[in-house]
Point group: C2
Chain length 293, copies 2
């Protein structure tokens, strides 16, 4: 059963609290009916992978969490409180879980009332993604409806923040299933590839690897960060830049990478087969699984 | 204090339940940490106005609620259960509240577990909006980032559904405040006016009234429905059609209309004064407040 840790320690700022954390069963309600996290999806989250108790890319996640808070004009989250909540939750899961994950959540608090932001974390066993990692995933491209530069022109659209308002991301995955696929690469109205609903895109052209630039309204993937370190150590070239949608058809290989599923090779794009390199992908996933960063 | 009613009566379908409803204090948690309503904004809502216990446009709200469920591929909500929850909540508020409002909420249930959708309603005293109704509101236009036909081309973007993923709507209102305004009219990338983050736009040109067509990814406003009935009874012409953004500068008068604030006349658009007709708007708001539909 997953473990839920409510953060009484202030989730923003750093005032001390008499009872900083409270472990609750996963099916004990902790969120008020009028919490803006539920009534408006008004808050932020992060998902982290945990290998034998070690939290992958913890600082990168906390940095991105703080960046999402800034975009939503929420106070900066108390990083120490989230670090500690995940450790408490992991211990509460029961000893020695090899593969776990955690989510951090921060909401704006209670609607129409002066209230502090509200935060919690939960930790659960990571499902088995070995089929996706080895056999690959079928992906479709879906229009995200926006032009590439929307994060620059229209920051109120919150592109580049990891918000609790993910209904569109969930609907895109249902649309993929309707088309016989497992996942999505979003594209822009002006013909660029962006990211998956819950993962970062990496393309391979020979010994060069490319991921869409996080300057243009995509999240800076923490799994992708790890993959780029592994690739750099192998002597490969890695690059961030805008990626045209038609490049998806020219790439030698492609992956969608995130903290829970790690690197899932793309084996079909819009119904067309794509080559996957099993040994190379296995190497990438072994690094991602065992990395200490 | 607001009253919260958790719906144990199935929120979808119509199987009977031993304890169909449960009234809980507004600050008693009712939502699990892993409920998709909070972790993904994956659910829908409606807000209704309640005058002396009478729920305005209840059937139109329930129809729109069911339509939002359909767009999100949620099972059809149990309309009777929501009707009853609002009545129970209103009684629990304490007798004889003249102006109240309620929200219906339906979420997809618990993440990564087979679970039923989860529903509740809450009822609270409506704040006093008389200043906005009589003095008017200052509005700015903000780009919604999408072309007009996005609901047709890309239904996974969920335009036209009233989802719990409203972080963008909240961010737009913060952007308006930063520009010295009270509210927003969203526009499309191809130059059309849409709606406010929480209200429907009505424009007046002489004796003709126009509202952006709900065929193009805007919600069909229930307050606007009432206003159109009042206008028709006065012999005015009313119309639904796509509205060009430049028409906002040509209109004689404009309103943003919703269930809680009713008709708020627009007194400034992007910093330019707009005429408001106090007596006419008062008449519209008296009708909206006292209507029996």
């Amino acid at each position: 059963m997953p473990a839920v840790v409510v953060i009484h320690e202030p989730v923003v700022g750093s005032r001390p609290s008499a009872e900083p954390f409270r472990i609750v069963p996963f099916d004990e309600p902790i969120v008020d009916a009028m919490n803006l996290g539920i009534t408006r999806g008004d808050g932020i989250f992060e998902s982290v992978g945990i290998r034998h108790g070690y939290v992958h890319e913890e600082e990168a996640h906390l940095t991105r969490f703080a960046n999402s808070a800034r975009i939503l004009e929420l106070p900066a989250p108390n990083a120490d409180a989230y670090r500690e909540a995940v450790r408490i939750g992991y211990r509460a899961l029961g000893g020695g879980i090899a593969d776990a994950y955690a989510k951090y959540v921060l909401t704006r608090g209670i609607e129409a009332r002066e209230s502090d932001p509200f935060g919690y974390a939960f930790v659960d066993v990571n499902p088995d993604w070995s089929r996706e990692r080895t056999q690959g995933i079928r992906v479709v491209t879906l229009d995200r409806g926006y032009p590439l530069n929307v994060a620059q022109t229209s920051p109120w659209l919150l592109q580049g923040a990891k918000t609790l308002s993910y209904a569109v991301n969930r609907a895109a995955i249902r649309e993929a299933a309707r088309r016989g696929a497992d996942d999505v690469v979003f594209t822009t109205t002006d013909g660029y590839a962006l990211e998956g609903p819950t993962a970062t895109l990496i393309l391979r052209f020979g010994d060069a690897f490319v991921t869409p630039s996080p300057d243009f309204g995509v999240l800076h993937g923490t799994g992708q960060l790890g993959a780029y370190r592994w690739l750099a150590a192998l002597g490969m070239r890695t690059e961030y830049r805008p990626v045209r949608a038609e490049e998806l058809r020219q790439a030698d290989q492609m992956w969608l990478v995130n903290s829970q599923r790690l690197a899932a090779p793309i084996r079909a794009l819009d119904g067309e087969d794509v080559t996957i390199d099993r040994a190379f992908t296995d190497g990438m996933n072994e690094y991602l699984r065992d990395r200490r960063s």
